[in-house]
């Protein structure tokens, strides 16, 4: 293949540096400086994609971020795939591999296009919903096939080999866009002394100057660009970020910049010669002032078949010719509403190819460029527009007619012009997207025929986006904006910038041309595309308005206008104009939709940065973790903690399963002695003269008389009376308490205590500190616990001197320890707390002495079974934020007669919490003891009731108990305590119904004697 459309001179490409690339399986050549799009055009590749809904052949339309069609799947390997890359924004590199995102079996011969052709007229907006409405149950089946036919990019299936990172900046002035306005603004602000970040999404800074026909100081603008950039680069206060898209503008002048660092060089950073470096970087910038210099997007004109390959926006034609030395065709027809677009025809002619005609919608165009075109012998047809493109795989002609835009009709004889390219320009849309991210609505300016950014606090818009289209005006406005931004951010001495000389050009006024009329009306005309990425046509918008969608937001959702990665860059204003025409309103009355981040797609890699794996999801380990690992523990995640779940043993070369391991561990605790690492329990150290008073207010039960050396179980409610946490609190001294919380609730409880102290009771002298990580906790429990403990501690363990719910200080294994006689198993238990650093020594010492007692380590699963056998709740498992202490049958832990109005008390006398039919905690004993009920299973009273059945409650905890030799469960059940002995039913999704008897929540040792021995 030869580069048939390449011109031999000019452009900003390096002809000495040829590059090979592969598109849709075929090899091509291009040059350094090309984008993938310019290289494809140079090689005469017309069809680059198939459209999303109708599978129509599509070519390259634009030259930048606004390109709707030329999306590719980039990447040579499975692990380097990037979907939906705009080929207009992808620099060419040697060995680049890309495929069209849509088209099967390929873009040249596409199966779905027949559906599009045959069904095109029958696929109005809402087609899928309307057609595949019924039966509703079949939708899932239809959808599978519909999705196969549609196609966007494919996600990579293998892990990304590259790394990404984030950088945080604070700057005085962030300038977005390095076109003429942005460069002038950055230079102006930087000279004033401000710290400036200048970012630009393109390969090269310079923006519209890079393909301009105009001169600065009598020479090519490129010289001025180079001079400006080199001055900026020399300043320590300036950061230049090329290939960096400002993709989101968030609250309080927070802007995210997506910098592509190696994507213009190779598939991966390693391939590019930068192993170990970030492929892309997300800059998180907090700027005192933002200067928005994002420029404009040219609007194409909507006419019939305007999506055929060979239809382009006029400015893109100039860009390809002047910047990339590519003429994307042989013979051109230009249809325009303004002077500026004339340069496309002039550039085309100067490149040595034929300009068939310029079709101008205005009656009497007479600007400098118009005169120049006429002088060059180009035919100018006035008062007319291209109303239809002819052709099948590419444009072969243009149908041109005089038009009356006020009445939207074709007025004259239709002339057929032969050509292979139609360039169109309906004017310019300021790129207001970023300003709109802030929630500020753009404002319509009738004189500009476009939306300009609304007022965003601490932002100045400048240049094209602010409605300044002439180069001289743009430069002056940029300089002004930069100086203002510097002054606003504290650099009051910023001076005015001396600007280069520009030869002023006189442009005539533009006219409003969004859609060209056709001699056939509405759906009878060939398709006129408004949004090519989403295949939205003018007639679809017309239909939407006829069906009653009057708000542009509704039109958008009904037709998909402005959806997807495109975000309405080319189509939105045209779509609004068409809706406005159909509704007989003005464009501002129809309104604009809100553009959302991101401006162009950003890779997940850049969003994630280094926040992968443990930096995303940190893990917490106890001081004993290594022992658990060495002893074969299986782990369970509890909050961020890794807790031993159970400790399977290896016997006869076989690993115990969970059921057997848990059964063994349970029996060890009930019959001998077991040990649990309970270090993850939240621990809060509470001190101060009012600590006791404070506890009385946040717990439901009484604390006034708890003596030093004693421990009490407490319930904590929210002020709505619902249980939020539980745990024991020990009195360490009159002004000193140690509170324990659930593992998952530790941080929330600490914040809860702070909340009430700081906002309601600041007069109380009390201080809170988290000591969860400071102490390791080991629970030694079982009938042999005392015997084992007596071997390792100097604490007097006499049952009269160290009673249940006492705590003592002493040494354990020679280490200072606090030992608490509290029990979550119902057995005799000692909870040993030592400074975490000494925990391993104490733990190992316990095992040395424990061997003769068959000391058995147990995990959370066994802990759950043992506590459930005793009817001890776990907050968050047996409760769910709608359960009061009364519902749990914990009347004994509620101090209704406490003097202060503690949190939750008032709510316990609300009518709802006093209802007679509240769900109450009960035990369930399945009639078939071999069946472990499903947690979450619903309880009904009448198994034969038809669906929907009356649901009376549900199972909250359910296990097999080796001690009971059968299954058991805890459940919440309406009026549960009045239903003791009744039979309830649990219908399951597999059609089976289980039977269970309502019993007490305490299954073992109802009198609580074992823990008191």
């Amino acid at each position: 293949m030869t580069q048939s459309n390449r011109i031999s001179t000019g452009g900003r490409i390096d002809r000495s540096h040829g590059l090979e690339f592969n598109f849709n399986g075929q090899s091509y050549q291009g040059y350094a400086g090309d984008t993938l799009a310019s290289a494809l055009l140079a090689n005469g590749v017309d069809i680059v994609n198939r459209s999303f809904k109708y599978s129509r052949a599509r070519g390259i339309v634009a030259a930048g971020a606004e390109e709707p069609n030329a999306l590719v799947q980039l990447g040579a390997r499975k692990d380097t795939q990037v979907p939906n890359v705009r080929s207009t924004q992808q620099a060419l590199y040697d060995g680049l591999v890309a495929r069209s995102t849509n088209g099967w079996p390929n873009v040249q011969r596409d199966v779905m296009s027949w559906v599009g052709k045959l069904g095109g007229n029958f696929m109005p907006p809402g087609f899928y919903y309307k057609t595949f409405m019924s039966p509703a149950s079949m939708w899932m089946t239809y959808e599978k096939y519909i999705r196969m036919g549609a196609g966007l990019g494919r996600a990579p299936t293998e892990s990304d080999p590259d790394i990404y990172d984030h950088m945080h900046h604070h700057c005085d002035v962030l300038v977005i866009g390095a076109g003429p306005a942005g460069l002038a603004a950055a230079l102006s602000a930087a000279r004033g002394g401000a710290r400036v970040i200048l970012c630009d999404e393109q390969e090269e800074m310079g923006g519209s100057l890079l393909d301009s026909r105009e001169t600065l100081d009598g020479t090519s603008p490129v010289a001025w660009i180079e001079k400006t950039i080199s001055e900026l680069a020399s300043m320590a206060t300036v950061t230049l970020l090329p290939r960096t898209t400002a993709n989101g503008y968030h609250d309080h002048n927070f802007v995210t910049l997506h910098e592509r660092r190696t994507e213009h060089l190779a598939d991966t950073a390693s391939d590019a010669g930068f192993p170990g470096q970030a492929r892309a970087r997300l800059h998180r910038v907090r700027a005192t002032r933002v200067v928005l210099a994002s420029g404009t997007h040219e609007r194409p004109v909507v006419y019939a078949n305007n999506d055929l390959p060979g239809n382009m926006v006029a400015g893109a034609v100039s860009t390809y010719i002047r910047r990339y030395a590519v003429v994307p065709g042989n013979s051109l027809v230009l249809t325009t509403s303004n002077d500026h677009a004339y340069r496309a025809a002039l550039d085309w002619q100067e490149a040595g190819r034929k300009v068939v005609a310029i079709v101008d919608a205005r009656a009497n165009p007479d600007g400098d460029l118009v005169r120049q075109a006429r002088d060059s012998g180009i035919r100018v047809i006035t008062g007319s527009a291209v109303i239809e493109a002819k052709g099948t795989q590419r444009v072969s002609g243009a149908r041109v007619s005089a038009v009356d835009l006020d009445h939207f009709v074709v007025t004259g004889r239709i002339e057929d012009l032969e050509c292979d390219t139609i360039a169109s320009s309906g004017g310019y849309s300021p790129v207001v997207h970023l300003s709109s991210h802030t929630g500020t609505r753009p404002k319509w300016h009738e004189d500009m025929l476009g939306f300009l950014p609304g007022d965003v606090k601490d932002m100045i818009s400048t240049g094209g986006v602010a409605g300044h289209y002439a180069l001289g005006e743009t430069l002056a406005d940029g300089a002004r904006a930069g100086r203002q931004a510097a002054i606003d951010s504290g650099f009051e001495n910023a001076e005015e910038l001396k600007l280069p000389d520009i030869k002023e050009r006189r442009d005539g006024p533009s006219c409003a041309l969004y859609q060209a009329p056709h001699e056939k009306q509405g759906l009878r005309a060939p398709k006129q595309f408004v949004d090519m990425q989403n295949d939205v046509t003018a007639s679809a918008i017309e239909l939407a308005t006829r069906e009653g969608f009057e708000s542009i937001e509704h039109v958008k959702r009904y037709t998909a206008l402005g959806f997807g990665t495109d975000q309405g860059k080319l189509g939105n204003i045209n779509g609004m104009a068409i809706a406005a025409r159909c509704l007989g309103r003005s464009i501002p009355e129809v309104g604009t939709t809100v553009f959302r981040p991101n401006y162009t797609p950003i890779t997940f890699g850049a969003i994630v940065g280094r926040h992968c794996d443990e930096f995303f999801d940190p893990k917490r380990y106890t001081a004993l973790h290594q022992w658990h690992v060495e002893n074969g523990a299986e782990f369970e995640d509890v909050g961020l903690w890794k807790r031993p779940w159970y400790f399977p043993r290896n016997a006869n070369g076989k690993k115990e399963n969970m059921h057997d391991a848990v059964a063994r561990e349970c029996l060890a605790v009930r019959e001998g002695v077991g040990i649990l690492d309970a270090s993850t329990l939240g621990k809060i150290d509470i001190q101060g003269p009012d600590a006791r008073e404070f506890l009385g207010r946040v717990y439901t039960n009484k604390w006034a008389k708890l003596e030093p050396g004693r421990v009490r179980y407490g319930l904590m409610c929210k002020d709505d009376g619902m249980l939020m946490d539980d745990g024991t609190t020990s009195c360490l001294g009159d002004n000193h308490f140690l509170m324990t919380t659930t593992t998952g609730g530790a941080a929330a409880v600490l914040e809860w205590l702070e909340l009430w102290h700081q906002t309601e009771w600041p007069e109380l002298q009390v201080y809170f500190n988290s000591v969860t990580d400071h102490w390791a906790t080991m629970t030694v429990t079982g009938p042999d616990a005392r015997k084992l403990m007596s071997e390792v501690t100097d604490i007097d363990l006499d049952r009269e001197k160290f009673k249940f719910m006492d705590w003592k200080e002493g040494n354990v294994a020679g280490i200072p320890a606090r030992v608490f006689r509290i029990s979550f198993t119902g057995e005799l238990a000692y909870e040993i707390n030592v400074q975490a650093n000494y925990a391993m020594h104490v733990w190992k010492t316990l095992f040395e002495h424990g061997e003769k007692y068959n000391l058995t380590p147990y995990g959370t699963e066994t802990m759950h079974v043992l506590r459930a056998e005793k009817g001890l709740i776990i907050v968050g498992q047996d409760t769910d934020g709608s359960v009061t202490p009364e519902d749990l049958g914990m009347h004994w832990a509620i101090g209704y007669d406490k003097p202060f109005h503690w949190i939750g008390k008032r709510a316990l006398s609300r009518p709802d919490t006093m209802r007679g039919d509240r769900k109450q905690l009960v035990g369930l004993k399945p009639k078939d003891a071999s069946i472990v009920l499903e947690e979450g299973a619903q309880i009904v009273l009448d198994p034969n009731e038809s669906i929907p059945m009356t649901m009376m409650g549900h199972v909250t905890s359910s296990y097999y108990s080796p001690s009971l030799k059968g299954s058991f469960a805890l459940a919440v059940l309406k009026n549960g305590r009045e239903r003791m002995g009744e039979t309830v039913y649990l219908p399951m999704s597999d059609g089976k119904t289980h039977e269970a008897e309502v019993v007490s929540t305490i299954f073992i040792d109802p009198k609580g004697e074992r823990q008191n021995v």
Binding site: D251, H252, T593, Q758, T759, R906
Partner: protein, 129 residues
């Protein structure tokens, strides 16, 4: 993402360091025993959802752990002031109302569609005039 001035640390920090804790200046009834169910229900469950000036409580949860209040415009998301617990805001909906009469800029936004609703049309005309 907000940029929040902590009135205790006396510096601006990123929103990631803070947690919002809902409406500020909620008074727990002094005498709950003699508070009607309805009043208690209001205190527990009912919150303002103003379009415009709102006073919110936040906590510098991974900073100084202090609770404080923010006066924020729920339309523009502008934070107008932050102040410690126990203090009253200097900027309120009422004081902003006064500013409006004096010709200060009206915060617009809220509805996503310009002109789709009659009240927005009025807003629009106001904005363009």
């Amino acid at each position: 993402m907000f940029y929040i001035f902590c009135p205790y640390c006396k510096e601006h920090r990123e929103e990631e360091e803070f947690h919002p804790r809902g409406q500020a200046h909620l008074m727990r009834p002094e005498d709950p025993e003699n508070t009607s169910d309805e009043e208690w229900g209001d205190y527990l469950f009912f919150r303002d959802n103003p379009r415009g000036i709102h006073h919110e409580m936040w906590v510098h949860s991974v900073g100084c752990r202090k609770f404080f209040n923010i006066t924020r415009n729920t339309v523009t998301y502008e934070i107008l002031e932050t102040y410690p617990m126990g203090e009253q805001p200097t900027i309120t909906a009422e004081s902003e109302g006064v500013r409006l009469e004096q010709g200060a800029q009206v915060a617009d936004g809220g509805w996503q569609t310009v002109g789709a609703r009659p009240e927005n049309k009025a807003l629009n005309e106001e904005a363009s005039s």
